[in-house]
């Protein structure tokens, strides 16, 4: 650092000249550096963290032609249906609604770690193992989640459930918009109880 003062207070005793007191030119930069680094941190974080993220969503192509086989037979042991309802509530069941798989009868649950993930995570592994025992096993076969949003569901619910798919690594999932009549009943029940 540039030091201009040499020998502060080294004047001769009793000398004739009165020297003006030289001030120390050293400035304490600690506070300034602190501030600078604080601002650097702020700008670094805000530039990279505020960028919006995007979630890719592929929808099955809509077929206008009617002759395509609409009902592909899927093992009901592999399917889990989630109905998104009002007030951040989910109704889920495993298998068919009429004859649910053991432990998979329709139930109401919430989102997040304590909610739907507790249902999905164990089933992802158990269904994958079940699929491997099947004679018609193909690579990548596993759980199929059918997401059925009702009219009362919000966009946040949709993003949350898709996020949940990514977290639980569900191999196959689809958003289906039409509910069957018994499912509609279930959804109504769900939306009513939330009110």
């Amino acid at each position: 650092m540039a030091e201009l003062n040499t020998g502060d207070g080294g004047g001769k005793k009793g000398g004739g000249k009165v020297r003006s007191k030289k001030q120390n030119s050293k400035v304490d930069l600690t506070a300034m550096v602190d501030l600078a680094f604080l601002l650097i941190t702020f700008f670094m974080l805000t530039t990279s963290l505020s960028k919006p993220k995007s979630m890719d969503l592929g929808m099955p192509p809509k077929d206008d032609s009617t002759e395509v086989n609409t009902d592909i037979k899927v093992d009901q042991k592999r399917t889990v249906t989630v109905i998104l309802g009002d007030n951040n509530q989910i109704k889920w069941f495993h298998g068919l609604l009429e004859t649910p798989e053991p432990g998979g009868s329709p139930a109401t649950i919430g989102y997040g770690k304590e909610g739907i993930r507790k249902v999905l995570l164990p089933r992802v592994t158990s269904i994958a193992e079940y699929c491997k025992t099947r004679p018609d096993y193909k690579e990548g076969n596993g759980m199929i989640v059918i997401i059925k949003p009702t009219k009362k569901a919000t966009y946040k619910n949709l993003v949350d459930i898709l996020d949940e798919m990514a977290i639980s690594k569900v191999p196959t999932y689809a958003i289906v918009n039409d509910l069957t009549d018994p499912e509609k009943k279930l959804a109504e029940e769900l939306n009513k109880s939330a009110e």
Partner: protein, 209 residues
């Protein structure tokens, strides 16, 4: 007895260089930070754990939100050349002619939400007035007057006519509280044009969610 003297080190450290570096970095980050563009329809996007960034170019954003109790959709294109070409094609389709000055002003608009009949007035406004809540009513998208569909269609057309080899990406930027039927309507409009893959804009949240 001779005492062993400890050499005293200076307690103050020369911080000039450190200060220089700090301010250099600070300047760099300030200059590279892009100011957030004002949004005519502010939405609160839901959070997710995905870590894929939204593309910077070749993107069309459909902002879905509620303002003053009404569902509104705003249309925004990222690329300026696509904006110009789309305006030209849309003008031709709806019989509205835009002067070069208006087109140049439109090129600077990130997002808008007016029927094409009212686009001239919005272009003439100052940017601060334009982005006030309630000024723009949203792009019409009902079955009788589906301008949103035409905007999407012409934007893609413009993209092809400009000779870009990458198709436009479409992103839906919805408000967290937006009800699903409105989102579905947008998805249906996109899917009617065989756009089956699109982005959902989300914020980020912690990994341990």
């Amino acid at each position: 007895m001779a005492k062993i003297k400890m050499s005293k080190k200076a307690t103050s450290i020369d911080m000039t260089a450190m200060c220089d570096v700090a301010f250099l970095l600070l300047t760099f980050f300030i200059l590279t930070a892009t100011a957030k563009a004002p949004e005519p329809l502010p939405v609160d996007t839901p959070a997710s754990t995905v870590d894929v960034k939204l593309p910077e170019t070749g993107l069309v954003t459909l902002t879905v939100g509620k303002s003053e109790g009404k569902d509104k959709v705003f249309f925004g294109m990222k690329d300026r050349d696509v904006r110009l070409k789309t305006l030209e094609l849309m003008g031709a389709k709806y019989g509205v002619t835009f002067t070069p000055a208006e087109a140049a002003q439109f090129e600077l608009i990130d997002e808008f939400g007016v029927p094409i009949e009212g686009l001239k007035q919005v272009i003439a406004m100052k940017s601060a007035d334009r982005n006030k809540a309630g000024v723009q009513p949203g792009v019409p998208m009902d079955s009788l007057n589906n301008q949103l569909k035409d905007w999407i269609y012409t934007a893609r057309q413009a993209n092809i006519e400009l000779g870009k080899n990458k198709d436009l990406d479409f992103a839906i930027k919805g408000d967290a509280k937006q009800e699903y039927p409105q989102i579905k309507k947008i998805m249906d409009i996109l899917q009617d044009q065989k756009i089956n893959s699109f982005n959902l804009v989300t914020g980020s949240r912690g990994k341990d969610y």
